[in-house]
Symmetry: C2
Subunit: 348 residues, 2 copies
DNA sequence: GTTAGCACTCACGAGCGGTGAGTGCTAACA
DNA sequence: TGTTAGCACTCACCGCTCGTGAGTGCTAAC
C-alpha cells in the first residue's frame, strides 16, 4: 500500500461520498489531476480491490469504497487531527441568548447538528455516576398529597407526588424535610430507602408516611430514569439515494422511534473523544449501511453525555467529526462553566 | 341519492379502505352480495361519479372514493353513534400498574393508539386556562443558587434555578417561601411578577433576589411552555402504499419532526368530541392525502388535552374513532379520578 | 512502469406487443 | 322503466428485446 495507492483511494472515497455512484478510472484521472492515465489508475484500482478496499457492484461499473476503506480513511483523519473547523462561531451563535433548560439545550443541539451536517443527529443528556443527595424537600400540593423534591449534586431533581397524612401542614412538612436532609445528605438515592426505614422509630407519628417515602426512593433506585433523547433531522435521511428502499427506511425509522434502543446504540462506552462505527461494524442489522459517529461532552459534575450522527456509510466524515467536536466542546462549556448557575432538569 | 346508491358507495369505500386499489363494479356485485349485476352497479357508479362521490384514476380502472364520499361516510358514522368498542378492556390493561407520570402516560398513550390502529398517533398534554398558584417554595441547590418551585392548581409545577444571595440559608429561604405563598396564592403566574415587585419594600434586605424572582415569573408568563408532544408509530405510515412516494414521506416526516407545528395542527379547538379532517380539508399541503382524526380528554382541573391519529384518507375511520373514544375516556379517568393523587408534571 | 487501443460486459432505458381488468353503450328482457 | 347480458374499447401493467454507453481487463508499444 504505497503513497500513490492511498491518494487514489482517497480520491475514490471523496468522489463516492459526493456522488453516491460507483466511480470509474477515467473520472479519477480527469477530475483529480493525478498526472496518471486512466489505464494506470485502473491497474491500481485492481490492486486496491484485491486488498479489500474497493468493491465492484458489477463488472462494468466503477468501484465503491468498502467498509475497510472508510475505516482507513477515518483512522487517518482522526490521526491527522486536523479537525479544526471554522464553524465554532456559528455553533456558538446558535446558543447565544437561548433558554438554558437542559432539555431545550439537548433538543436544540440535535437540531443544530442535523442542520450543519444534513444527517440524523442524536443527543443524549449527561448521565454518570450515582448522584448524591444534597437536599430533600417536601412541598404540599394538595389535600393529602405532597411533592418530594430531591436535589442532587449533579443538579438532577426528581419529583413525584406521594400521599401524605392530611394533618401534616406546610410547617410540619418543612420540619420533616430538614430532618430528612440532615440524614440523607451525601448519600445516594439507593441508600436513602434503607436510611428512611431506619428512621421510622424516631418519627413515629407518621410511620405510614415514611413508608411511602421509602417506597419512593426504592422506586427511583433501579428505575433508571427514562432519559430524554433528542433527535433531529430524521427526514434528512430520506434525501440520500441509499435510502430509497422503503424497507430500509422503515427499519431505520422504527429504530429511531424506540428511543431506548436508539440511546443504547448511540451511548458511548469508552473515554475516547470520538467513536466511528462504519456499516456492519455496529453489529446492528438495521444499521448495516449506516455509519454512526459519536462524541462526548461532560458537565461540571463529571457526568458524560453523548452526541452522535447517523448517516450513510459514505458520510462526510471530516465534516461530521468537526461539527461533533465543536458541538461537544460547546456543550461541555455550557454545562460546565464555573461560576454559572447549574442547569437543572426535572427527571421523569 | 337513494338508499341503494348509499349502500353501493359504502361497499366501495369499505373495499377501498381494505385494498387501496380502485374497485370495479364486478367486485362489488360479487363480494358484497347486493343482488344486482355488475352492469347495474356500473350505472349507479356512473351516477355516483357525477355526484362527486367517486373518482376514476383512468378510464379503464375502477373507482376510488372522493374526499366528499369519506365525509359522508364519516358523518353518517358519527351520527349513528355506534362507536362502542370492545377494546376498552385492552386499553385499560395497557395502563394498569403503570408509572403515572404525565409524560409517561402521554407517551404510552401514543404507543397504544398507534399499535391499536396501525396509524401515526399524536397525544398532546392537557392545557387550558391560566393555572393559579397554590404554593411557592424556594429550595437551596448550591452556593448562590436556589430552585423556585411553583405548584399550581392544575397540578403543574414549574421549576427553574435562579441566583440568590449566599447568605440566605435553608431556613431563611423557607421563611421567604411562606411569605411568597401567602401573597401569591390564588393568583396567576402573570400577576405574580407585579406582586413581587410590590413586595420589594417589605423584604428590603434581599431586593436583588426578589428582582430575579420577579424576572422569573415574567419569563414564564408569555413563554408558553413548550409542551411535550408524544408521537407514536411514525414508521407505520411507511407500510401503506399511498406513501411509497419518497417526497410525500419526506414532507410528512419533517412535519412530524417539528413538534410545534404538529401540535398546532392536531390541537383541537372546539368543544366537540371528535374532529375529522379528510384530505384537503385540513388545508395543510403536506397532509393533502392524509386524514386527521382527533378527540379530547380532560383533567380534573378542567384542562383539555388532545389525542389524534394521522393516516391515509382511506383510513379505517370506525376503528380509529372507537379507539380514540376509548382512549380519551381512559385518559380523562386517569387524570380526573377524584380521590387519587394528582398527576404532576414539571414543565420546562 | 506507463499508456494507448481494443474487445468485452452489463446495467439502464426506450420501444413494443400481449394481457386483463374495467368501462360505456346498446339491445333485449321482466 | 329498471335490470341485465353482450360486446367493443381503453389503457395500465408486465415482460421482452435491443441499442447505448460507461467502465473494465488485457495486450502491446513506448
Amino acid at each position: 500500500m504505497d503513497e500513490r495507492k492511498y491518494r487514489i483511494l482517497q480520491a475514490i472515497i471523496d468522489d463516492y461520498i459526493l456522488t453516491a455512484e460507483p466511480v470509474g478510472s477515467r473520472t479519477i484521472s480527469r477530475k483529480y489531476d493525478m498526472g496518471l492515465s486512466s489505464a494506470t489508475i485502473r491497474n491500481e484500482m485492481s490492486d486496491l480491490e484485491e486488498l479489500g478496499y474497493l468493491d465492484q457492484p458489477h463488472v462494468s461499473a466503477g468501484r465503491i469504497p468498502s467498509a475497510k476503506a472508510y475505516r482507513l480513511y477515518v483512522d487517518q483523519l482522526l490521526e491527522s487531527g486536523q479537525l479544526k473547523s471554522d464553524d465554532e462561531a456559528s455553533v456558538r451563535a446558535y446558543f447565544a441568548g437561548r433558554a438554558r433548560q437542559m432539555e431545550d439545550v439537548i433538543d436544540h443541539a440535535a437540531q443544530v447538528i442535523s442542520n450543519m451536517t444534513n444527517y440524523l443527529a442524536v443527543v443524549l443528556p449527561p448521565s454518570g455516576r450515582q448522584p448524591l443527595i444534597r437536599t430533600v424537600q417536601l412541598v404540599p400540593v394538595g389535600p393529602g398529597s405532597a411533592l418530594v423534591l430531591v436535589v442532587t449534586d449533579s443538579g438532577i431533581i426528581r419529583d413525584t407526588v406521594i400521599p401524605c397524612p392530611g394533618q401534616l401542614d406546610h410547617d410540619s412538612l418543612y420540619a420533616i424535610s430538614r430532618q430528612l436532609t440532615e440524614e440523607l445528605e451525601g448519600h445516594s438515592i439507593e441508600e436513602a430507602a434503607a436510611i428512611i426505614s431506619g428512621m421510622t422509630g424516631r418519627l413515629h407519628e407518621s410511620a405510614r408516611f415514611l413508608a411511602s417515602l421509602s417506597d419512593y426512593f426504592d422506586a427511583h433506585t433501579d428505575a433508571k430514569p427514562r432519559r430524554h433523547v433528542a433527535v433531529g433531522g430524521t427526514s434528512k435521511m430520506l434525501t440520500y439515494p441509499e435510502y430509497s428502499d422503503m424497507e430500509k427506511v422503515r427499519g431505520l425509522l422504527s429504530l429511531v422511534e424506540t428511543r431506548d434502543r436508539l440511546a443504547a446504540i448511540v451511548a458511548q462506552h469508552g473515554d475516547v473523544a470520538f467513536t466511528v462505527r462504519i456499516g456492519p461494524e455496529s453489529g446492528i442489522p438495521e444499521m448495516s449501511d449506516c455509519s454512526i459517529v459519536t462524541a462526548t461532552y461532560s458537565t461540571r459534575a463529571g457526568e458524560q453525555g453523548t452526541i452522535g450522527v447517523i448517516g450513510p456509510t459514505r458520510m462526510r466524515y471530516s465534516r461530521v467529526l468537526s461539527v461533533l467536536g465543536t458541538m461537544g466542546q460547546q456543550l461541555s462549556e455550557l454545562f460546565g462553566a464555573a461560576g454559572e448557575f447549574p442547569e437543572e432538569e426535572s427527571e421523569r
